[in-house]
Amino acid sequence: MLSRILAIARKELVDASRDRRTLTMTIVSAALAGPIFLMLIFNLIASQADKSRDVKLAVVAAERAPALIDYLKRQQVTITVAPADYEAKIRAGDLDAALLIDENFARDVADGRAGSVQLVFDRSRDRAQAAIGEAEALLRGYNRLWGQQRLLLRGIAPTVGNPLDLREVNVATPRQSGALVLFLVAFYGLLAAIVGGMAFALEATAGERERASLEPLLMTPASTLEIATGKWLSLAIFVLLIVFITIGGFYLTLAFAPLPSVGVPFLFSARDVLRFMAVLLPLVALMPAILLWLGSRGRSIREAQANTQLLLFVMTLVPAAQMFLQRKEPDWLLYVPVSAQYVLLNRVLRGDALATIDLLQAALVPLLLTAAAIWAFARTWSREAVLAGK
């Protein structure tokens, strides 16, 4: 049984490796996805003007620095009173940043010393990046303004104290700049798992029917379950390769290309590539199984293609919807295929720890579905109707 499964898998891999055109297209598009889309995104970000700002700042002891608070309010910052457990809330992602004003602020200022404030944030939260950057810029702006006013009072031109005219252009589109890059890496990793094997899955299923090689194959002692398993094995190996190339493309682009800084504290190490692969492994198993099952239901490649369109649509919509919803993910999401992987990929990108239990939890449903899809594929091909029509 095993020898037949391996023989089928080997034949499919040899067959696929000789389909030079499809192979080249698949590999090239997988490898170029990272570089091209990162370039496009960085370009987009750079060309975007600073549009709508919507900065909220939680302040501890606002009454200690009324002038500063007034300044912030004039800059359309919504000032709120920070909750007592603001540190925990920031860690949990419920609060973007908090401003802490030192109790000696007024006295220090009056005595001619610098007044001390603390900006508390979690740099690894992609959703908070824009707010953090905005708050920092505003505080620096206040500092500069205040200093200039003091110089003016002493009859000194502001340029004396500020020989360098540094103007920051905030290239961040509201909130999304960092998130968008992260989203792309995660999204393309997922997409590679789906699209990478599509052409070959259809070739190995609907293609068998289209060129009338299925009937002879079904007459051999190989059972449909062995055929299905063998084909799945070969495709899973292939998809694993494609996903690796895609992620590798992003890794190399981010590691070596001279990309403009977009304020993303972006670290994507070789270790992260492996963690990415670990997260995506259940999908590398699942997608080929589903594609083969869908392909087996088509009499021709063209017919099967229509079946796969819906899969592609749903699978790509899920992470996109998740990104734009921007909510904290509920716990049960880790049981939902694709969604779970997207959540975990984001954790990797944020530098959070990846718990083994979470990986297993996210793998559970995809692996069960993989077995179910292989079984369904085998069943489709054991029906007599599969022989009808070429």
Partner: protein, 247 residues
């Protein structure tokens, strides 16, 4: 040896299309049995039942002593089939196409090489053995498909219209090959809608029409049975018309 007893298969939502309607016949070892019938007579359905691809609605059949419903695996191991669908894998070479099926049949690698070489030589395919079948002519593809069906040296061989698309030289080579297999004691079932083909090769002829056996016997017996002067007249008389039967 193939023994068929009242085998039946109907298709359609109401099971009203009786493709094979109670067929009884035998095909002996060391003989070539021809199944002759016009298109739509039920030849392909009969073959698919014997190859365990579809399950009969009624009747029984054994192939090499194995029941086609209860002992599917044994039946599959003992048959070599050239079916109506005979597609190859275009990106694999002739030899790889043949070896793939050999492996699925459990043929050991050492034996495979030898047998494949012998088959390729017998079918005049040696020169093309290691070329991809992508560019092969219809006849060359057919020969590869025949070799693929024989790679596991099965005791029972079923061929559905094996001469379709072959030129006259190839047809003669194929006949030679089939006679050699007969001499080796194989049971050969040969289906065709071409009368001359069947007459030239077969020891016994079974005439199929509308899913039923119309007549069976040797060529001489069929002529006597129908009371016609020539074999061709005999077929027309037995089938009721010569429709669908190529001259």
């Amino acid at each position: 040896m193939i023994a068929i007893d009242a085998l039946a298969k109907a298709f359609g939502a109401k099971r009203d299309v009786r493709a094979v309607d109670s067929v009884s016949m035998t095909a002996a070892d060391g003989a070539i049995t021809g199944v002759l019938g016009p298109n739509g007579a039920g030849k392909t359905t009969l073959l698919r039942m014997l190859a365990t691809l579809i399950v009969p609605d009624g009747g029984h059949a054994t192939v090499d002593g194995h029941d086609i419903v209860r002992e599917r695996d044994q039946v599959r191991r003992s048959i070599g089939v050239l079916s109506d669908a005979r597609g190859l894998y275009p990106r694999l070479t002739a030899r790889e196409n043949i070896a793939y099926f050999g492996t699925l049949h459990g043929v050991p690698d050492a034996v495979m090489r030898e047998r494949a070489d012998a088959l390729l030589a017998a079918l005049n395919l040696d020169a093309l053995a290691d070329r991809r079948v992508q560019g092969f002519s219809q006849g060359e593809k057919m020969k590869v498909a025949i070799a693929r069906a024989l790679i596991h040296d099965p005791p029972v061989i079923m061929l559905d219209e094996p001469t379709n698309g072959l030129d006259i030289m190839s047809v003669r080579a194929l006949r030679e090959q089939l006679r050699a297999l007969r001499a080796a004691g194989k049971c050969l079932l040969f289906s065709s809608h071409v009368m001359q083909e069947v007459v030239a090769l077969c020891d016994r002829i079974v005439i199929l029409g509308h899913g039923r056996v119309v007549a069976q016997g040797t060529a001489a017996e069929l002529v006597a049975q129908s009371g016609a002067a020539t074999l061709e007249d005999a077929f027309v008389t037995l089938l009721g018309s010569g429709e669908g039967l190529a001259a």
